[in-house]
């Protein structure tokens, strides 16, 4: 198996916040913490796009690199998880993460930070699978039940895809080809917006 990944299709996302709600509901995430959230660019203008953002379970995760107590680990499937019993709530991971994934619940007066909380890809944490301890600290372990993350399974337009990177990549590529795009949308020229990129396929949207 490849690595577990998320892909959000900005062409399909309708900013319904279903993924955010599903995540909060599934894991009973405390007030003030959002493991997943929506980011909208050009809000209210033509060409507005939204994407759903959470922990991207990086291959070379910066949160793991900066953690002073080494509470992060990576599963066989490439899911980045952490041990809340070790976390000291220092916030280094929050500053290191380019996606703002680590969240900190308020643990007392004057903004006292609690232990870090983030998307677990619905894989729980270092406690017995589907135990009360795991559910309380990390939320439900859907992967151990053979299910995908709740956010992706709840997504009504299937904008948010989750699962084996190779599988969801093939799904996304098929969609893109259905939209009339071809091989020209992959690679260096597309990424860096070069004008001398290959011509678009006939009937392709701009």
């Amino acid at each position: 198996m490849a690595r577990m990944k998320f892909i959000c299709d900005a062409e399909r996302c309708i900013e319904c916040n279903g993924c955010v709600t599903a995540c909060k509901s599934e894991h009973e995430v405390p007030w003030g913490v959002n493991r997943r959230r929506l980011v909208t660019v050009n809000d209210g203008k033509p060409g507005e796009r939204s994407i759903s953002v959470a922990c991207m379970h990086c291959n070379d995760a910066p949160c793991m690199a900066v953690c002073p107590v080494d509470c992060f680990y990576k599963t066989e499937e490439g899911i980045v998880l952490h041990d809340k019993d070790l976390c000291i709530g220092c916030g280094y991971c929050f500053y290191a993460c380019p996606f703002g994934a680590p969240q900190f619940p308020q643990a007392g007066a004057f903004g006292l930070r609690g232990k870090m909380d983030k998307c677990t890809f619905c894989a729980g944490g270092p406690e017995e699978d589907n135990s009360e301890a795991e559910r309380t600290k990390y939320g439900r372990n859907r992967l151990a039940e053979g299910k995908l993350p709740a956010c992706a399974e709840m997504c009504s337009t299937k904008a948010l895809l989750a699962g084996d990177g190779d599988v969801i990549m093939s799904i996304y590529k098929q969609r893109v080809q259905r939209r009339g795009k071809g091989d020209e949308i992959w690679g260096w020229a597309m990424a860096y917006n070069r004008n001398d990129a290959k011509p678009q396929a006939a009937g392709a949207k701009t």
């Binding site: 953690c67 998880l81 270092p126 053979g146 995908l148 699962g163 084996d164 799904i171």
Partner: protein, 76 residues
Amino acid sequence: MKSKPVVAAIAAVIFAVGLSACSEVNQTAKTEKVYAGKKDERAYDNKLFGNDKQKWETAMAQRSRTQNEYLRTDKK
């Protein structure tokens, strides 16, 4: 006449040094980070999958493919 080998040697050195600039430097930070927390169980190490990794992977791949609605619509 004697200067030819010297020039050739200098040219070879410059060529070698120049080529070394083309090598790719590993940009990944070399950190000696070791996870210090509790050991986690594998997702398939439970009653449902009986520690059968293949069974779990097959189930997950199948579930992932259900996200592709073209598999349903194209059958019609």
